[in-house]
Symmetry: C2
Subunit: 290 residues, 2 copies
């Protein structure tokens, strides 16, 4: 029989290497060195299991994990051979970043797809970020990317980490659904050119209103920093540079909202293209006049 949650190994010392490793995953350096990341909370762990994410281990604090569904998740993970460890309440409180801690933290292997293995279908949509200052914004963008059927996220350079705890949390599981690719901005542009993928950027100086441009497919939407926008190199590389109109005195909207508005526009154009294609293929299937 499997270990019950009461007989789990207990970590009670902050100097215990298992706890030290957990803490290190809250830093970018620790995540980069280990190739692991943390997800916290019942809903997020459930989504990881559902997405068959490679969970390395699970840490629980039984008095906070008082939800039956959460307890069942832990049992399921134990059954499938995932190492489960108990933390004392003190250590768990020290670790958790949640506003309402639910007593469960999973350590998961990061999954990066090499750029040269990425293929995209004729209608494919991708999101690329050059630099996003707020991890919460990055997570929110991943969530909208999944909702709009994007195949994945390309992280250009070192300006953003989709596995940062607030990014992972805000993604609401989207980081398990998206292919994640890290490459330089130069490699990105080369990849897009070689695969005939249209690069769509956005800038207040864009020539085209985002509602009145017609994208070609496949396409990738590239988002720059909240403060500085896209770099000169990427601006020059865009096939379409669109503008989100602003009626007020403010000169910008939140970066995650801007990405969302553009992703939904692309999603809609893509659906329209798909509808047209299927209409014309139905038309060509019709028996001709005889």
């Amino acid at each position: 029989m499997h270990e019950s949650k009461h007989s789990l190994r207990l970590v009670h010392d902050a100097k215990d290497p298992r706890f030290q490793n957990l803490r290190s995953l809250q830093t970018r350096h620790g995540r980069a060195r280990s190739g692991l990341f943390l997800i916290e909370g019942i809903r997020h762990v459930a989504r990881a299991i559902e997405a068959r994410a490679p969970i390395q281990s699970v840490f629980i604090e039984p008095s906070s994990l008082n939800n039956t569904f959460g307890q069942k998740l832990v049992e399921r993970l134990q059954h499938s051979g995932v190492r489960c460890v108990r933390l004392t309440q003190r250590l768990y409180r020290e670790l958790t970043l949640a506003a309402e801690p639910q007593g469960i933290v999973a350590v998961v292997h990061q999954q990066w797809t090499p750029l040269d293995s990425v293929r995209t279908d004729s209608g494919g949509l991708w999101l690329a970020v050059e630099s996003v200052d707020s991890p919460g914004n990055l997570g929110t963008m991943m969530r909208t990317a999944e909702a709009t059927g994007a195949a994945g996220l390309l992280v250009l350079g070192d300006g953003a980490d989709p596995y940062e705890p607030s990014a992972a949390r805000a993604s609401m599981g989207a980081l398990f659904a998206l292919k994640l690719v890290r490459c330089s901005a130069w490699e990105f542009v080369e990849w897009a050119r070689a695969s005939s993928i249209a690069i769509v950027g956005s800038s207040p100086a864009g020539l085209l209103d985002f509602k009145s441009f017609h994208c070609r497919w496949p396409a990738v939407l590239v988002i720059g920093s909240e403060k500085r926008g896209l770099s000169e190199h990427l601006t020059q590389s865009c096939d379409f540079m669109v503008r989100i109109p602003m009626a007020g005195r403010g000169d910008s909207i939140n970066a995650a909202v801007a990405a969302g508005v553009l992703l939904y526009e692309l999603f809609d154009q893509r659906r329209a293209t798909t509808r047209k294609r299927s209409d014309s293929s139905r038309a060509s299937e019709r028996p001709g006049p005889c």
Copy 2:
């Protein structure tokens, strides 16, 4: 001659009523009781001045306020008779919520517009929120509302406070541009009916794809809670209940992104209506055949 910033009255004791009052504005109770709120940072204070917001007083910490533009703002406020007070570094650090504190905090009078004095023009767009759990989301929604030309924000019931410090910060000054109205959900529905304002809601169960409905004007977009969506009463009161399609496994997107996507759709429909109207008025101005 006006006081220089070096001769300003100094608050150094945490028990000083001026500091106690400042601290109380970080709580909802303190804001409600006083009718005041805080804004922090050079950019935000500049926007308040530009918008002629009723600034009651300004608190600075000179060693953090090392930006010349920021110092000029303070001089300008002193000139115009706004009370300026210095805080010790210790008290300022205790007060500030900024990641990169800039040494300036303004106390501003809240400005609420009574519902019965609200008039809306034939093309008017409004945003209403029933309940928003995250103040950052509320602020981001206000920012997009301003960018899409909304006239104001209606806050239904007690579920949200646009003057909460993170909401005010995320609004990036939009809270000075929008008319702010607080009323109950019942008063809101009555107001919309009496003024023939179309109520647009959004729900995963909405019958209409948000891209394929045609709004009538004036209109108000109403946003429910991130977790629970719109209440039954408001759901029943919507003239249009639209759906944002989702392609992924996730069942929702971030509330501020959803509001942004819908506001931009409404903004676009409104621009199209305005274009049509001005086209037809130009057409009617043309001399007829003679």
